[in-house]
Point group: C2
Chain length 446, copies 2
């Protein structure tokens, strides 16, 4: 399943590895974020559950193999290659940091150690699912930080990059600290709390706003949230209160929020509904929320759509997946890339988290620490194709994120990049390995 | 299928419509782009095939209905509602502009006329799939314009917002004018040409760069594209040429492209490969391509990933889906929203395309034109739940886009917003309807 959901070059390379008799060499790839997105001081690792599901189901149907056979790029590929592809299953190892862990540039979020062909084909899917969810979880944590304890709900599926992206955005936003999502499938599949009551079309579908409020009250009772800005926000809030039935609150989706939230608060209070809440929505992001919070407005909850589900202020995360080791006939070769503007670090690694700093070292290192040894972040998840233990669900990942952020310096939670960034050091052994591989590569080029 | 892939409020509203006995009122919604994304002068409508597939399969499984039953928001919903949901199929009409049509702000890309419950639930999915694909098709058309006839290939799945977004990005990019995609599933499912040969990990997996080139040549022959920047770009190009076998060309993914493309061209020419092509990749977008083109560099093809699959310079498209008519017991009511900062136009519409201008009118209008009547863009696609005719495939949609752009003023193809924007007028009848609905709404508010 989903064998073809990869870049074509992964499959031409696979055919080439097969042709060269290299397809069963054991490769180690690592996935990390090269540079943090704009204004971010960390990324929340997310998407592991989908990565594991992908690896466990990775396969090619007969139709998919025939499709490949028909492509000009495979006209010289050996017949044995397609047979291998038809039988391909993931038989390797996956190490990953727990979902929800805050991570920094250059630190592996996961490593794949598997027969070269398998590890290579998996690159595209792993990057897309981990990169996207990590980006949204990170964005969510910023919104939650800006909202200073008020609830933030993810409402962005309609503007997500495809419906499925919306489902995953809801999951990732919850991991990042949102109270829940409007995406019902996210609730159904991933156990994320779902929210939402009514849209403008609800109000407009009735002869009058009041009729629409009355009908909603009948359906939702004390959980009702009236959308009050369809015609005139203050008049809408008055109608909601005049119904006289207990309700959760009102939602404002347009207009001058600074003025309207205050006047609506007054209307609700004077009508005897001091407990009724005010939720605001409408093109919000962490920067706008911060501005609203500075005004000490009577806002109880935020709904954020487009900006969250697309991480609109920086909709891309520079996640990469790099070959760091290759083992063949018991011999191990460390690999790295040393081009002018992009370079990589060789060898399988481990991330050691000390109070106040991280150390990236070789996988075999066991650095000490006083009074306690550092936390090792990469844990075994799949071994020889079988999952080692049940995966934490979105709720646990959300706790991991909250705890992870709490134990890091507060300055990291700024909405703007701090300078210098958080300390991520390389171990002496890793640096020595880097130099050794660089020298070998230079020697070969001469 | 995919009944739950919607915002929860669509489903609470559905329960409310059922409760109010309104669920079978016939609603007309229209989907349009409120404001064009940054620097855009048009959007290429794309995603219709997936919209149709969704509507034709829209349903709720027994498990999905039980999930909803268990939510607090549905504790007061009537039992009949869940029964209705379990039997729900799309029985309405869909009108849409042909995939690939260039459209402007405020013009309906599609209209849904269906029982209120069905039309309401479909909102979220339709917006996400049409919005995303239209955004990417539009971005692709800009890249192709900037490249001035050189091929542009979509390489962005790894940075797309989820793997499925990558599949659809490849499809949309092709519709927008790209030569193809690296996403193999896009090729398999949607008949889009697929491209790609080898990555840095291929080069690094061999003992030497030369070995990796030799093996690739064996696999791909004259179709080989050597990735030459893993260690030293010029040395890499020399090795490719020194192999002496015919090859398609080389790819440069890093470094100073202005200098390197020229020196690599020289190396290839002097080695007797004047026909070998140069492809460049690496964080490109339409603005950078334009800069490269200004330098008259010897570049034959561009590969664009992140910026295309995420529409990174503006990753959101303000697509909305608004209720414009509601019919009950033979009586029709026109609806619109008149809040301070957002307003909508009532009534089902048609878009009439004249040479040099568009006219948005009421659906029943048949405006004249000299010498020929205008083109009517919205066409029936689904009637009473059944598709009217086979849908054009991605290749036809690509032709529609190319022809559509050719027949519009050249100025629209600028990479920056023109002022004034393209002329989109409203008919006298539509304006009269707007005023009438506005007056009625104001009367009700008094």
């Amino acid at each position: 399943m989903n064998g073809l959901l990869t870049d074509l070059y992964q499959l031409t390379m696979a055919a080439g590895y097969y042709q060269a008799g290299k397809h069963e060499e054991t490769a180690t790839f690592e996935l990390y974020v090269r540079n943090l997105p704009l204004n971010r001081n960390y990324v929340i690792a997310a998407g592991l559950a989908q990565a594991v599901e992908y690896l466990r189901n990775l396969s090619f149907s007969r139709e998919e193999c025939s499709y490949l056979r028909g492509l000009s790029q495979f006209s010289r590929a050996q017949a044995g290659f397609f047979e291998m592809l038809g039988n391909l299953r993931f038989t390797g190892d996956l190490h990953a940091v727990p979902e929800g862990t805050p991570m920094f540039a250059g630190e592996p979020l996961l490593t794949v150690r598997a027969p070269l062909v398998q590890a290579q084909i998996a690159e595209t899917y792993l990057l897309a699912t981990i990169g996207f969810q990590s980006m949204v979880a990170t964005k969510a944590s910023r919104l939650v930080e800006a909202a200073g304890g008020r609830a933030v709900v993810e409402f962005g599926t309609r503007r997500a990059h495809s419906p499925e992206a919306g489902v995953l955005a809801g999951r990732a936003a919850y991991i990042g600290g949102c109270a829940g999502t409007s995406n019902t499938k996210t609730g159904f599949l991933h156990g994320v709390p779902v929210f939402g009551t009514a849209a403008h079309s609800w109000v407009m579908s009735f002869e009058s706003e009041l009729d629409s409020f009355r009908e909603l009250q009948k359906l939702l009772g004390p959980a009702t949230i009236y959308l009050v800005d369809s015609y005139d926000t203050e008049a809408g809030a008055r109608k909601a209160a005049d119904l006289g039935e207990p309700f959760w609150g009102v939602r404002l989706d347009s207009g001058n929020l600074v003025e309207l939230t205050r006047s609506v608060r007054l209307i609700l209070d004077e009508a005897g509904f001091p407990q009724a809440k005010i939720m605001v929505t409408g093109d919000l992001n962490e920067y706008k929320i911060l501005e609203l919070m500075k005004e000490h407005l009577p806002i109880d909850a935020f709904g954020v759509g487009t900006e969250l589900a697309t991480s609109a202020d920086d909709p891309k995360i520079g996640a990469v997946y790099k070959l760091v080791e290759l083992e063949s006939g018991g011999e191990k070769r460390y690999t790295a890339k040393f081009s002018d503007d992009k370079h990589t670090w060789p060898g399988a690694k481990q991330v050691f988290r000390y109070p106040g700093r991280d150390l990236v070292g070789c996988a075999w290192e066991t650095p000490e620490g006083t009074p306690a040894p550092p936390k090792t972040l990469l844990e075994p998840v799949i071994r020889d194709g079988a999952t080692v233990a049940g995966l934490p669900d979105a709720t646990e990942a959300r706790k991991t994120a909250a705890e992870g952020l709490r134990t890091l310096p507060t300055a990291l939670r700024s909405l703007f990049a701090i300078d210098p960034p958080y300390a991520v050091e390389r171990s002496g052994e890793l640096s020595a390995l880097y130099r050794k591989v660089l020298e070998t590569a230079r020697g070969e080029q001469r």
